[in-house]
Symmetry: C2
Subunit: 178 residues, 2 copies
Amino acid sequence: MSRRDELAEGATDYALEHGLIGLSLRPLAAALDTSDRMLNYHFGSKDALIAAVLAVSNERSLVTIRALPVSASIRQGVLDLWDAFTEPQVARCQRMYVEAASLGLFGREPYAASVRQSNESWLAALATHLERSGASKARAPRLATLVDATFNGLMLDRPLDGDTAGRRVVVDLADALS
Amino acid sequence: MSRRDELAEGATDYALEHGLIGLSLRPLAAALDTSDRMLNYHFGSKDALIAAVLAVSNERSLVTIRALPVSASIRQGVLDLWDAFTEPQVARCQRMYVEAASLGLFGREPYAASVRQSNESWLAALATHLERSGASKARAPRLATLVDATFNGLMLDRPLDGDTAGRRVVVDLADALS
DNA sequence: TGGGTTATGTAGCAAGTGCTACAGAGAGCC
DNA sequence: GGCTCTCTGTAGCACTTGCTACATAACCCA
């Protein structure tokens, strides 16, 4: 693994823990036992670093979703997706996605572009899972968009740790969609 | 209206247009034809200013929702809420709410507290509308939570201007809930 | 042993941050 | 007139930001 990739992985871990909004190079560099000088050397700019971090985080999320076994029904598929979504490893990636999406709300780069790209592959992964769980090829993408929006909205409003309220909402949604 | 209230209204307009993340006192003060010195005098700190801005914005959103005429059914109630939600005046307030929620994701104040408070009254308003549109007293709050999460998630992922895709998702949701 | 590419450390710049010390203006009251 | 109280302008502090100029070290290949 190249030094750049090592730093990208480390920076991703750091951003997942400390947040993306207000992330600054010097504390990040200190945590990675290097210097802001080195981060700029390997990535060229803070924006490029951020883009790399978001790509790494998105890839980590996708791996989990793609590895999900087929669910027995659409209803169960939605619930299984929620369980995957709230699994701490994935949840932190999604939390960072939410931060990136907020930063991109006014079109600010590199956030807006990264978010568009992440969202595309993420929706595709959700749709694939729902399709393999019984949704028609036509319905799966629309279901995926709905499910994704609801999940992200829950992430936004509810504190992420041990929220049973969130799951109740998802059960309501899954029931309604059956 | 006191000078402080005038400034709070003006600051809210400015924040709605330019975003909450990265808002800084000097450009804001310049736009309001005053100085950072004055903002700090009237509000005491930037955090207090932000809290005031979020309160004003939340109140503006609530006024619109509360003024909504009763809908003919739950399904129609959800659609009417979406139309209210995407009406530019309200949509910008909700966009700022999303920013505040992101800033509060890691517990950072004053965002986390403001978001909790805003969300509470907002959910209550949604539930009231859904109840008046035919939902049972028991079901209305849970419906409201689901609808709110979906709306906010859509705000997050889709560019807010002229998104017909967002409405299609809401129609799916409304259909499923009937 | 050279030479060139890659990687790293030191120091610093210009700009922007929230906030404050200090003095002054203006109004109302005795 | 004097007095206080509310409000405002000037200037600046201490700090952080992303980024860079410059010199140095480490390495591989000829």
